[in-house]
């Protein structure tokens, strides 16, 4: 008996983006970090890109797939690292949704929405705070840990701007050129 799966355009797109995010995530985890807990978070560029181009549902799929599959590949599934990663990913995506919500309700005549940089800063700050609170609550419940929070948030803002610029450049490349016929073609 043969199994038949009918895959849609959307499935292909999710698979493509998730594969990209997983690859970036794994390459990035091979590099040593100057400070524990601080990583460029380039895999989040893919999440943010997905969020801005295809909406939050696709972004949620891509983001969950990335966290679960890359942790399986790295051998950290269900470990503290995995929990931190999952918590950060979910929190950053939900804050993106929350920020976008009021703009969706506004009349769409004028585009008031933040660009990639604004979203990236929000995502990276909430990713960092999510991981930080998780680490503090479950692993190191010591009030002294909060002395590190300002440093972490400073780096989150800086790295957020960097990944926002990368995302914006990617989006403008993709929307302007030959990508119109591939799986990454926007629906709009």
């Amino acid at each position: 008996m043969k199994l038949h799966f009918t895959t849609t355009h959307q499935d292909h797109r999710v698979a493509l983006l998730a594969a990209l995010a997983i690859t970036i995530h794994i390459i990035e985890s091979a590099f040593p970090s100057p400070l524990p807990g601080i990583k460029p978070g380039l895999a989040n560029v893919v999440t943010l890109f997905t969020f801005m181009m295809y909406g939050w549902k696709t972004a949620l799929q891509v983001s969950l797939l990335r966290v679960i599959i890359s942790s399986l590949l790295l051998g950290t599934f269900l470990s503290p690292t995995f929990l931190l990663s999952l918590c950060g990913a979910l929190l950053s995506l939900s804050s993106l949704i929350l920020v976008q919500l009021p703009f969706r309700l506004l009349p769409a005549k004028i585009d008031h929405q933040p660009g990639a940089i604004g979203y990236a800063i929000i995502a990276s700050i909430s990713h960092m705070s999510g991981q930080f609170l998780m680490a503090w609550y479950f692993f190191i419940p010591h009030p002294g840990l909060f002395k590190l929070l300002p440093i972490f948030i400073t780096f989150a803002v800086i790295l957020g701007i960097v990944s926002g610029i990368i995302t914006q450049l990617t989006i403008s490349q993709l929307t302007s050129k030959q990508i119109q016929r591939s799986h990454l073609r926007p629906d709009i």
Binding site: D111, H112, G115, I121, I125, P143, G144, T154, V157
Partner: protein, 133 residues
């Protein structure tokens, strides 16, 4: 609006978000690094020997506690809401040289003698910001 080759990088909302992120960061620095008012008043001393349960002493009563450690007796003085080791039977005397413990969260341990003391405030430990210095 800043742009690279006609590409808009910063939209107005981005600048608002960037400024608020900067303010948030500054606020975090001011709260967690430069605000010492939250470093709670301590009101009791916890004294622990080896694996025994910690014993609590109020800080408002001046007294000198004698406790027998693994190597010998240690004397701990409580005075004016502060506490310190004044004598210990260990070799290095780190615990004595540490001096006064003054704010909630301050801790000194004499490892050879297996005695540790720390100050606690009335507030819930995990809600207070009580880093040393």
């Amino acid at each position: 609006m800043t742009s690279i080759k006609g590409l808009i990088l910063f939209k107005p909302a981005d600048i608002i978000i960037l400024i608020s992120a900067g303010l948030l960061t500054l606020w975090l620095y001011s709260v967690f690094w430069f605000d010492n008012s939250q470093q709670g008043e301590a009101d009791r001393l916890l004294l622990q020997f080896a694996d025994n349960d910690a014993i609590e002493y109020p800080l408002n009563k001046e007294q000198i506690i004698t406790i027998k450690g693994r190597l010998g007796p240690a004397l701990i003085e409580i005075k004016q809401g502060k506490a310190r080791f004044i004598h210990s039977s260990c070799r290095n005397q780190f615990c004595v040289f540490h001096g006064w413990l003054t704010i909630a969260g301050d801790t000194t341990a004499c490892l050879p003698n297996r005695i540790s003391i720390s100050l606690k405030g009335s507030a819930n430990d995990y809600d207070a910001i009580a880093g040393a210095q």
